[in-house]
């Protein structure tokens, strides 16, 4: 009578339950193909990352320059005030110059000498003067325009 196997005998026989050489050849080819695909994908990803890093630097610099320009514009926009005054006007260019000087005095008085006149130019229809903070930081320019010589009125715009 044939003796029954043990559980260990069955496990031993299980170790032989393997496919043949053809299976392994195709297995090897498939894994090789997939690893090569993974390798090329990895190098592609690395290239993209590299390009991203190197491309990011000029973009960052441009963004910073743009941002600082925007900030400067915002700051100057905050400083800009619009004021209008009316004053009697005689001879145009002379009056404008005088008025500019008078205004400079006003600013100096109002802000306790915080502003200094940086430049003053007179033209036919307007006078342009620029002021700078005493500390040398902020600055603004001022143009005084004439609406109408007949009416003798004067509009002053400060930027």
């Amino acid at each position: 009578m044939k003796e029954k196997p043990t559980l260990d005998d069955l496990f031993q026989s299980k170790k032989l339950d393997l496919p043949d050489d053809d299976f392994w050849n195709s297995f090897q080819d498939r894994v090789k193909g997939q690893t090569m695909a993974a390798l090329s994908q990895r190098s592609k990803t690395a290239r993209i990352r590299k390009a991203g890093v190197y491309g990011f630097v000029p973009v960052l610099v441009l963004a910073m320059v743009g941002w600082s320009m925007v900030q400067m514009q915002v700051n100057s926009g905050n400083q800009a005030t619009l004021a209008t005054t009316s004053a009697p006007m005689g001879k145009n260019s002379t009056s404008l110059s005088e008025l500019s000087l008078a205004l400079q005095d006003d600013y100096s008085l109002d802000r306790e000498g915080a502003l200094q006149l940086a430049s003053l130019e007179s033209f036919d229809s307007f006078a342009s003067s620029s002021f700078q903070a005493a500390g040398g930081g902020e600055s603004f320019s001022q143009r005084i325009l004439s609406h109408s010589q007949d009416s003798g009125s004067l509009s002053q715009y400060t930027f």
Partner: protein, 209 residues
């Protein structure tokens, strides 16, 4: 023991320290992108890894796909392998985790398909497919009916119990290595192994000595 059995047992035995050094140099070359070194690693471990996965899934096609996926995943993650454990422990962990995830998904699919009959039929077909791919000298040595009964009994175990039985009894790993792969204690491995073998003995009581 005939030559084929002996070579199969040797293939399943633990790698020696010299071989381990050889493996490390292959791993280091593969890390640098040397595909031929990785090919050598595949040749060295493909049979054992496939065997483990096949005995976990009882499905030849799934075993082939999952073992290929394990090698590709290992290749992709090679930079993360810090050489704290041996390469085969790390590779087995990848394979075992992929297979356990696959088995969970399969159970969910089966649960929603309500198709237990076709599942059983599918498993027989898989076994048949494996038998057809096994070499003829080996086939002669096997008692097919008992073999199928063992597969059925193994499939009745939980995934974790079956994995431990396969790693210990079929692949020949030690308790400590299995604990490393399964990320549990050696005590857990021993108790699961004891329980699983008891279950197998009871399922196969009519066929075993």
């Amino acid at each position: 023991m005939d030559n084929s059995v002996e070579s199969a047992v040797n293939a399943g035995s633990l790698v020696s320290s010299d071989a381990e050094e050889d493996v490390l140099s292959l791993v280091q070359r593969a890390k640098k992108g040397d595909l031929s070194a990785f090919d050598s690693l595949i040749v060295r471990y493909r049979q054992r890894l496939y065997s483990v996965i096949y005995n976990m899934t009882m499905n030849a096609e799934d075993a082939a796909d999952l073992s290929q996926e394990s090698f590709v995943k290992a290749f992709r993650s090679l930079a993360k392998f810090q050489e704290k454990s041996s390469f085969y422990t790390w590779l087995y962990r990848i394979g075992v985790n992929l297979t356990l995830t696959h088995l969970k998904k399969r159970k969910i699919r089966q649960f929603f398909s309500f198709d237990q009959a076709s599942e059983d039929g599918g498993m027989s077909k898989d076994l048949e497919a494996v038998s057809s791919t096994s070499n003829t000298s080996v086939k002669k040595a096997l008692n097919n009916e008992l073999h199928e009964k063992l597969n059925e009994a193994l499939s009745k175990l939980s995934d974790k119990h079956r994995t431990i039985v396969v790693l210990f009894e079929i692949d020949g790993l030690g308790h400590k290595e299995i604990a490393n792969i399964m990320k549990c204690t050696e005590g857990t491995v021993r108790s699961r192994l004891f329980y699983a073998k008891q279950q197998l003995q009871s399922y196969l009581a009519d066929y075993l000595n």
